[in-house]
Structures are given as C-alpha cells and as structure tokens.
Amino acid sequence: MARSKLSIKTRRKVQRGFVLLALLLLLVAVVAVLVLGARVTQQFEGRRWTLPARVYAQPIELYVGQALSAARFVEELERLGYLSQAAPERPGTYRRRGDRVDLYLRAFRYSDQPQAARMLRVGFSGNAITSLVDGKGVDVPVIRLDPLLIGSIFPLHGEDRIIVAPDEVPPLLPAALKAVEDRKFESHHGVNPLAILRAMFVNVRAGQIEQGGSTLTQQLVKSYFLDSRRTLGRKAEEAVMAVILESRFEKADIMNAYINEIYLGQDGTRAVHGFGLASQFYFGKPLAELGLAEIATMVAIVRGPSYYDPRRHADRALARRNLVLRVLAEQGVITEKEAERAAAKPLGVAEAGHKGAVFYPAFLDLVRRQLRADYKESDLTEAGLTVFSTLDPLLQEKAESALASELERQDKSARKASHGLEGVVIVTTPQTGEVVAIVGGRRASFDGFNRALDAKRPIGSLAKPVVYLAALETGRYTPASLVHDQAVEIKLPNGDTWKPANFDKEIRGDMPAVRALTQSLNLPTVNLGLEVGLKRVARTFVQLGLEEKPAEYPSMLLGATNLSPFEVARMYNTLANGGFRSPLRSVRAVLSESGKQLKAPQLEVAEAAPAEAVYTIDRMLIEVMERGTGRPARKSLPPGLVVAGKTGTSNDYRDSWFSGFSGSHLIVVWMGHDDNSQTGLTGTTGALAAWSKLMSSIPTTSFDPLMPESLENRWIDYYSGRETSPYCNGSAVNMPFKTGTPLYASDLCPPGAEGALETDPATPGEEAPAPALDAPPTP
C-alpha cells in the first residue's frame, strides 16, 4: 500500500478509515482463526474414527497334547516378536531350556474376553506339548498365544495405523521426541519463535543435531493436512492452528495424537502412520516392548522416513540413531553408559518378509470381500474394527514356499519355454470350512486381480468325481459297476460333432467304475455321464457348492466348466467333509472399536449329498492316490498318511490342477499362464508336485472317515470288477458296497482264496465279462 503525504485536514478521515480497515482485518483474522480452529479441532477430535480394520491370524492354541515341538513353538514366538531373555519378566519375553519354554504371555483383547498378561511354563516331549502351567504351577487347560497381526483393510493408497493408548507407550519415546525434535514442548504455546529464528539463521554446527523450526504441535498439524506446499502462507496457517490446538487441548493429548499420527514409512501402497504400526512394521512387536536402541531408531526415522529407511539405507539410519542416542545422553534423558550400550547394538530391523504386519494380499482380499456382505466399505477402512481371521501363518508360509519352489523348478526345466508360469494354492480345514491359507501367485504383491478368487479356468478331470458321484447317488451304481470305455460321438445343437477321446487314444472296453476314475479315463466318464444324464450331473455340481449351475453341455463331463480355485475348493471341501457343505469362511469374529462383538460369518453345515455316495467317492479318490494319477505324490508323502484327491488337466495343457485332502486339510493347487497359453503340464506333472510338497510339510492327519452303517467292505478285482480275495496279484481293491450287494465272483481268485494264487499268464483263463451296469444278477 503506497503512502502519500497527507494534509492535516484529511488525516482524521484517513485515521478513521484506517481504524475501519484494521477492524475489518481483525474481523477477517478472527473468522480465519475460527475457521482454522474448527478445522484443526475437528481433525484432532475426529481422528480416532478413521482407523482401518485390523486383521489378525488365528491364535495358536496351547494345550497338553497339541502337536507342537519346542523348536516350532520358539519359531512362532519369534514370529510374534517375543524376545529371548535369561529371565522372562515382562510381557513379550521368553526363555527356552531344552524341552521347556517359559514365556510371559502378552495381554490381548479377544472378541470373547480379554486375556491378561501372565507367565506360562510349557513342557514339550518330541512333537507335543506335555505340560502347561502358569507362574504358580497351576495347570492351564487351554490358552491362546496372542495372534499375529496380518494386515489392515485400508483404502487404496491409504494410511494405516495402530492406535496406541498413552499407557502402551514406553515413557522413553515422548522424552526422546521432545529432546530431539522440540525441547520447549512442555512450555511453548504451539510455536517456538526462538527455534524458528535459530533454524533460519543459525545453521547446524558440526556434530550437533539440527533442530527443525517446527514444534511437535506444528508437525502434527502439518500431518493432518497432508500438503507439502512450503509457502509462507501455509506456514502461517500451520502456526495459527498449532496455537489454537495448544489453547484447547492438554499437552499429553497432543503428544499422544502425535505418536499416533506421524508418518513413519511406506509399505507398498500403504502409508505407515504412528509409532504403534511402525513398531510392528520395523521390529515385529508391540511398541510397549521396544528397547532404547529401537526407540532411538524410530525417533531417527521421524525426520525422514524415506531418507533414513532402516531397510534400504541402514548405514544412514544407524548413524542417525547413534546421533539421537548421543543427544539423549547430552540432555540427560539417558546415561552415557546406556547410550554407549545401545549404540553398540545392530539396528535389529525385522526382515521385510517376516515383519509383524506381513501383508497377505490374496487372503486379505477374501476377508474384505466376505466382510462386505455385512459391512460398508467405510466401516472396514475407518471404523477401527478388529477382525479375527482364520489364516494359519505357518500353513501360509509353507504354502508360499511349496508353490514358489515348484514354479522355480518348472522354470528351470528345459522342457518348455516357460514364461511366467503362475500358480494358486488354497488350503482349508474341511470339517469347519475355514480357509487357512491362500497364495495368489508367485509374487506377494497384488494389483486387484486375485487369481485364487477371480481366475476362472476349465477344471478338466476335477469334474470326474462329480460325474461318478451323480451316478452313485442314483443308487444304481457301485464302484464295481462296469463303465464303457468306448468311442462316442455327440451331435451338438450347432451342428458340430463332439468326439472325445482318452488321453492316449486307446480304448480298453468295459471296466469297473473305480478303475475308470482312478486312471482318469475320458470315454467311460462321458458314457457314464450320458447314462446318468447331464441334468443330474449339473445338479450334483450345485449340491457340492457351485453357486451357478454349469451349462449342460456334454463337455461339462470332462471339465469344460470354468471355475476359480476358490470354487473348486468349495466343492471339494464338501467331498472332504463327508458330504456336508460349509460356506468357506475367512473370518471368525469381528470386534468393534469399543469392544462389542459384531456380526461375522458363522460355522454352518448342510447335508449336500448322501453320506454313502460321498463316502464311496472318497474311497475311490484314495485309490487315485494309491494306484492312479495321484500316485507320484507317494514319493514325498509320509508313509501311511492316507490322502484322497484328483488331478485335472484342461485342453492343450493350459491348466494344471490338483485338489486333494487329508483328514484335516484340503489343498487345491492350480498352475497356468495368465494369458491362458499352453504350459505343457498335466495335473500330475505340475500341480500335484506342489500339492504333495505342501501336504508332506504340514502337520496333518490321515483321511479316515467312518463308514456309514449301511455299507460294507468287499474286495473286488480292479480290472474286472468281480469279487475277489485280497491276495490276488495285487489287483484286489477294497471298496464299500451297500450291505448284501450281489457281486460276480472272480474265477481265478474267488473271494476266500488264501495265499498268493499262482496264475500262469501264458494261459489266461477265460473270464466272462461281468454283468451289465445296472442289472446285477440275482443269486
């Protein structure tokens, strides 16, 4: 504003004008302060409402008899960030002495009840827990180990944080923040003019830590309105807001907000905010358990989370951490000795792949989709829910490594030009229908397309058990029923002719159903499916858990239907669960921020198919593993472990599938290319290898369901379907039949024959063909 010389006459007028202008400016300033004040207050008070849902893995249950070795238990404790100590005296510490592990269990708020921190003494013998007592030696029947935090449901490119209450913050952290970032924090009113001046004029002296001009309060305000413009107006606005905040709130509240708000690192698209999450992100344990060196590292990171990233720039981070330690000693926050000791320690940052908040994208995507049935997206990303999921971190890890090593092996095999072969693994616990692991591809990163849920591919021979189940359900077929391996031609509505063939183009004539399924022959399956009727087969697909009825084309019988690995898991889970269908769950319970249990998917079962038919199919699927296309798995499976399963290969080797189960786990594996090009892999050479690697590396049990009362076991000849003795040339197979089912007896080795029966292969006895399928002879 230009100023001219004013005459005395006009001075009064101008003075009055000046006063008016000043009043106007004051009014503007007051309004501005009010507006800014309202904004910052709203941010400050409303901040706690924008919390992403936190998702936890299954807690490990500790109880006498649990199949867990001391070594594996310690592995789990390390994964959870428990610290090995000579004498566990605070939560989050443990000590192993041979077959005994003492630990100080952390407190945890479960959805049903809170668990207080407490001492536990766990005794092991071999692969099992043999004793479990508390600090006073009193038996504990069962207790949960605090679960692993596996991630959060945050908006894309959003902030993630774990809110910590003041009593969860080690007192050293605020003290260190004040000493390093804002020494006058306790006395200033939001801004520290001296500090600003010093920052402007007195630049850093060598060796002394530079003090930024901004107070903690100003940093907090800046973080609230993420805006990197460094204009003077912006700075003034921040300063005003800081002063307003200080006038309205206690210092302690501002410090707590700072600790929960400030940006401390980047994890892919996830912005890591607050010391609570950063502690998990960098050290894999709760903030309360951090030691001096770790706190100093975090305070070092505050100044530049990218520049001082302890994973990518360890040297810089280490140097600055030691600088922080020196300042703390100078300020008298810690002693010189403590600083020296801490400075001698390594950074101790958890491996990126092994951090507390490991990001399991495919699984978390399922959690999010399943929760969307009951919750709004904003509830999930903002309402601070705690989600208790079904993920089993150990199984997930094993599944990831089994798939990775098999894909790598395929890459190396010179057999084909393997470009970017991909794979999916899904693991469920069949009885309860819980999804315990999902691997969505060879990379953990994930860009919206979740192969496990979204990649729909032809399932090939995985459809065959459905065809045989549909046949068994009619009550007219048994494992010994003859099916016809003979050519078939079908005129399609569009005028084309469908002419399926067996893999080897061979034709073998009639054979019992058990052999046709075990060896995954196409023609007998098609002939059987046509006999039973496409309608009925399609219905059986739906009974097993398919949400949409497959198109009733004959090619459906050979698995032309496109299904996702998750849909396959749902269907096979029903087979693994004795014919009871369960919705596959990834969530067990949801807790509101205030601690109220909210809606979550419940365990449900429904009888999907007759128990007798499913039991019979399951026994045939055991034969697949014993002598059929699943046989190569035997090389790696523990001897004596009974499993059942089926291979699947789609046309031109585009998709390689294996779906199979033990008594306690169903595993579905898919391998293929994203562009649907050929892989050169069959279900056996591709997916089965990963499946058996995984199945043999996890603690599991034999598949051994109870036989329904109306059935009995009979020995039949694998090739003719005739009743025989178990000692016949290795061709006898034990199969369930409805009690009293009439069967033809084998000539060469009739039932009751004892010992190995010598037959001369040169002069085979003439055995008459067995009877027609559905017309058993009457005795």
Partner: protein, 194 residues
Amino acid sequence: MRSSLPIILTLAALAGGCAIEPFQKDDSKPSVSQAQPRQSPAGSGPVLTAPPPQVEAPSPDAEPAVEVPPPPPPPRERAKAPAATLSPASKALVSQAQAQRKNGDLPGATVSLDRALRIEPNNPLLWIEMGRLRMDQRNYPQAENMGRKALAMSVGDDRTQSLAWQLIADSLRARGKNIQAQEATEKAKALSPN
C-alpha cells in the same frame, strides 16, 4: 447297566474278530456264480481277459510310467466305536461355552466352541454342543444339521447317537414338526444306554 457289560464285551470281541478276517466272513456267503457272457457291444474295445494286463497306457493325467499297484491295504472293517469323550482342552472350552450361554453371551460361546472344534474337529460331542448353541440362537435348521453331522461322526457310538437324535428332535419340535420330532425322540430313546 452292570448286566449288559458281558454282552458288550462279547459284541466287541465278535466285531474285533470280523475286523481281522473280513474275507472269511464273505466265504460263508454263497458267492455269485458265473453269469452268461454278455454280448460285447459293437465297436467296443477288446473283451476283458483275465488276468488283465499289468501295464497300463498313461491316462490323461498320468506320468508315462509303469503303473504298479501297491499291496492291498488292510481291511477297513471297524469294531464298535468307543463312546466319544472330550479332551481336557475341549472340556474346558465346552464348560466355558456353557457358562457363556447361561449368561446370554452367545457370541462368546460361539468363539469358545469354534476354538474347541479347531482342536477336535472330529469329535461329535462338540458338534452337538454347537447345535445346542444354535438352538439358543434360534437357528433351528442349523441345530438339526449339527446333529446330523454328529450322527455321521459317531457311527456305532450309541450314546453319542442318542444325544444327536435328541438335539435333532428338539430342533424339529421348535419348528413345529412334531411327528418327525417324535420319531427322532424314539430313536434317541432306543439308543440311550439308560
């Protein structure tokens, strides 16, 4: 109860005997004699001969390897199943769930039983407990389904089967299906050891 013990023991011994040599039992049955040779359909493959070839051409998913059938597994006959019992861990969780149900904390009881089922998924008693919880939640169809699951898991265990049928009867009655409920109750009574 005391007088029935020898009978149970005898039955168990008999069943055990059957489990050892199932094919001898078959021996006593009149085995079906040779039937007339069936006309093989025109255009079909070669007629079956015995003994059949041991070497099979690879099937669609098979490795191109010689198929060697393993020796037959032992017979899968079973003796009468022993009455189901809860492990100490499950027992603690079930009492916790029962206390939670009594206090009206049904979500809490759900968590406790979920935990127990993870420890012993094959224990029919836990499925019956879950069914009882579903009754409290007025989810009667699921209560029945839990009972049916328990039935499938307790073949030969009369005491547990009786409990499962009782649960099914209660669930049917709650839905006004009185005739079926009565039938289920009869089954429960017939199987009850008392």
